[in-house]
């Protein structure tokens, strides 16, 4: 009993691999044909091989448990059927992402400087005033190349019509890139035959690109610069990624206690040889925890004096503290305007239509249509605190209506998109499951976008929530160049 592709249909959305007529999308013929040729037994073998590879490679994420035993490492569910994107489509997306992140960086730089965009009436001052991620301690600081968000993870989704939208931009400490890299390694082990034609664009230069970008931020460009990855520690759910990236770049993985700021306002790490100067910190610790002298006093994850060293230009921090001001779902709604304002261009990638609850008219519309809306808090990530209207109960609708009325600035709403699907192995058969895509955009002296990104998949039937903490898995993402422009 091989997979019955004839019965495969993605009734409620755009499928990334198979057309509504049951044929492979242009360029994807080879892989669909290949998968079709595998028996159940073979398919199961491949899946087991992938799972084993994940375990052996130690690809895990941490689920925190209350038992005092610390976190538990889990293997993140991985589906062996890849997600497919044509190189032609990707090239446009690549341009769109660069344009978007460029505008976002100009916005952040402007906000911490003259705030021209507010004075010119393009961005409302009250949004900024109520932003939880605005850090007034960053006013007047000028990071290298005027870049604040050096690593951005933007989430892309596709709706029924096949249009690709940007759902959100993660500018604080976006994670997931290690899974993108490891997924590819696993696929190469499991399906070596498919990589033989060499049309699948490689992704494994990411750590080199990241290293080069971080180097370009160094305050001592002439010297050999010392780069470190700053982690909150082993109980962080992304600890695996922190240690993975440090290893891949060949730099040290440090905790706050490994670093200190000297009398000269430079950052040093403690080594058995004494102190060693640090030039660039790729921090995976949230803003509020990085410097107890400036932010949360009780934080033990950070480095006292770090902000001082940064302000003096003695160390570079990626992402810059305060960059999260643009990582806010209300600010998100203004990104198309930012692109027009700063770059004088039309946005290449569209935003998902977004209703701001702070606006009376839009709020009324949202409240009247809650059952069709996805409501999100402005500053949460990881899929927490949101409501998917069609799937929620009447009671939940009521609760959210109350929440919105109490704090309208904190909520936005979007129409429920029927996310695109990709065939996924479930219970021995292939079924459509919803996916999103998180490419990573690096910005330093120059910009770089990953080829594809991390495809996250909601493994539960009909579910739209792809977060690892909530029953999501991942897939390898193939940007395939099938020739022609």
């Amino acid at each position: 009993m091989t997979i019955s592709w004839d019965q495969y249909s993605s009734a409620d959305g755009f499928d990334e691999l198979i057309t509504p007529g049951g044929r492979a999308r242009p360029g994807a013929g080879k892989i669909v044909q290949y998968l079709r040729g595998l028996s159940d037994e073979e398919l199961r073998e491949r899946r087991d091989a992938a799972e084993l590879a994940m375990r052996v490679m130690g690809i895990t994420f941490t689920v925190y448990s209350e038992e005092g035993e610390g976190g538990i490492d889990r293997v993140w569910p991985f589906d062996i059927i890849p997600r497919f994107i044509s190189a032609r489509e990707w090239s446009r997306t690549d341009d769109g992402l660069k344009q978007r992140v460029k505008a976002l960086n100009m916005f952040i730089a402007d906000i911490y400087d003259e705030q021209r965009i507010i004075k010119d009436g393009v961005f409302p001052e009250e949004v900024l005033k109520q932003s939880v991620n605005f850090r007034e301690q960053c006013m007047g600081i000028k990071p290298a190349h005027d870049v604040w968000a050096h690593i951005c993870g933007s989430d892309l989704v596709r709706d029924k019509s096949g249009t690709m939208y940007v759902l959100e931009d993660n500018l604080r400490v976006p994670s997931g890139v290690s899974y993108m890299l490891e997924n590819r390694l696993v696929m190469k082990r499991v399906f070596p035959e498919l990589f033989e034609d060499r049309n699948i664009l490689p992704v494994d230069d990411y750590s080199t690109q990241l290293f080069d970008m971080l180097t370009s931020l160094s305050p001592r460009p002439s010297a050999y610069s010392t780069i470190v990855v700053l982690t909150p520690g082993i109980y962080n759910s992304a600890y695996f990624e922190h240690s993975y990236l440090a290893q891949q770049m060949g730099v040290e993985l440090v905790s706050g206690t490994d670093l200190f700021v000297g009398d000269d306002d430079c950052v040093y790490m403690r080594t058995i040889n004494g102190r060693e100067r640090v030039d660039v910190i790729y921090r995976r610790v949230d803003d509020l925890f990085i410097d107890p002298e400036v932010f949360l006093e009780e934080s033990r994850l950070g480095v006292p004096g770090l902000m001082r060293a940064w302000r003096e230009g003695n160390v570079a921090i990626a992402n810059a503290p305060g960059a999260g001001v643009a990582d806010d779902k209300v600010v998100y709604a203004y990104v198309p305007d930012m692109i027009r304002y700063y770059l004088d261009q039309e946005p290449i990638l569209e935003n998902v239509p977004t209703y701001l609850c702070m606006d009376k008219k839009q709020r009324e519309y949202v409240l009247a249509n809650l059952e069709n809306m996805v409501v999100k808090p402005a500053n949460e990530s990881g899929g927490y605190g949101m409501m998917v209207g069609p799937a929620a109960s009447k009671k939940t609708h009521k609760e959210f209506a109350a929440l919105i009325k109490r704090n309208p600035r904190n909520y936005i709403a979007q129409p429920t998109l029927s996310l695109s699907t990709v065939p996924t192995l479930c219970d021995g058969n292939v079924q459509p499951r919803h996916v999103d895509l998180r490419p990573f955009i690096l910005s330093g002296e120059s910009q770089h976008v990953t080829r594809g990104g991390l495809t996250r998949v909601a493994l539960k039937k009909g579910s739209l929530v792809v977060n690892s903490s909530q029953g999501g898995g991942s897939k390898d993402t193939w940007v395939v160049d099938s020739g022609g422009k």
């Binding site: 610390g70 962080n236 759910s237 206690t257 490994d258 004494g274």
Partner: protein, 327 residues
């Protein structure tokens, strides 16, 4: 380049692995020893509690000093910071945070041991199953040491492993001498009673030293000779002189070694110049106390030179889960 915090974790990882092994062997040997002693022997399990150095913690948990309570204290009582289960937990946490440095299979072995000990700990409460459990624990520690030796670069990191192992060994040997000998020391060497013989033998056994002693010392087991062997022999791995010599060699390969070396030489002189015959009859406790202070000194110098005076592995517990990631 070696981060201080990594050096510290590696050092403590090695200490804990050594501690696990030593504790397990101590129980095992006592177990066998008691079978040889007459039923009414005053010597029972009490000395083992003293060896841990925290007898007050024992009395917080248990009322009676009996076999079951002592074994429970040494193997699994959460209130004993050095019990086997706690030591495994600490070793594991230190390894977890520096996993990238170690060959993967070391993590697997320690993890297996962790699971095994948690699942089977109650086996130690009966004499029948105790042997199997403790042997497995000891073997696992040897497996880890073997893997470290055979598959890890013998670089600066490895020096910290060796230092951790040897300071822990030296410390344990001194404790065993202290507590055991206290009960054993004959006022006059010629008054050897038959059971004392057995007990001196058990001192050697608990340090896995009996066979080597017989090969190298060529005299019957006697207090003074046993002491001399365990203090001053330069070849036996658990003899204090040997342990200190190992640390000396490690320090030679490390930077900024002046202060730790100074502390080390002080301890080495104390051991090498000890007049064993006199100490045996006179002031053994005092001598051991001084020696242990010297070990504390070495540890303190290593800490302030290389780890910068932080609390033991404190860095491990900084990573609280307050921060959510978006993955």
């Amino acid at each position: 380049m070696l981060l201080s915090s990594v050096a510290e974790r590696v050092y403590w990882f090695a200490r804990y692995v050594e501690r696990i092994e030593n504790t397990a062997r101590m129980i095992l040997v006592n177990n066998i020893l008691l079978l040889d002693l007459p039923g009414k022997s005053t010597l029972g399990w009490e000395p083992l509690v003293s060896i841990t150095g925290v007898p007050e913690k024992f009395h917080e948990i248990h009322k009676d000093v009996n076999e079951r309570n002592v074994v429970s204290f040494l193997v699994m009582d959460a209130g004993n910071p050095s019990c086997i289960l706690n030591s495994i937990q600490y070793a594991r946490e230190n390894l977890r945070t520096s996993r990238a440095i170690f060959p993967r299979s070391i993590w697997e072995t320690l993890n297996d041991l962790h699971n095994y000990a948690r699942e089977n700990k109650s086996a130690t409460l009966t004499r029948r199953n105790r042997y199997e459990f403790l042997s497995h624990v000891i073997d696992s520690c040897h497996l880890i040491s073997g893997k470290l030796s055979a598959s890890m670069s013998h670089d600066q990191i490895y020096e910290f492993i060796r230092m951790g192992r040897n300071i822990e060994r030296a410390d344990m040997t001194s404790r065993v001498i202290d507590v055991r000998a206290d009960n054993l020391l004959p006022k006059h060497d010629d008054e050897l009673k038959p059971f004392d013989d057995i007990q001196w033998k058990s001192v050697l056994e608990s340090l896995a030293a009996y066979q080597m002693y017989r090969r190298y010392v060529h005299v019957r087991v006697r207090g003074g000779e046993v002491l001399r062997y365990l203090l001053q022999d330069s070849h036996f791995p658990r003899a204090i002189n040997h342990c200190l010599g190992q640390i000396e060699r490690c320090l030679r390969n490390l930077p900024l070694n002046e202060a730790p070396q100074y502390a080390l030489v002080k301890a080495q002189r104390m051991v090498r110049n000890a007049k064993v015959d006199k100490i045996v009859n006179d002031n053994l406790n005092q001598f051991i106390n001084k020696l242990q202070l010297a070990f504390i000194d070495i540890n303190a110098e290593l800490t302030s030179t290389y780890f910068e005076g932080k609390e033991v592995s404190a860095a491990l517990y900084y990573g609280e889960p307050g921060i959510r990631s978006t993955a």
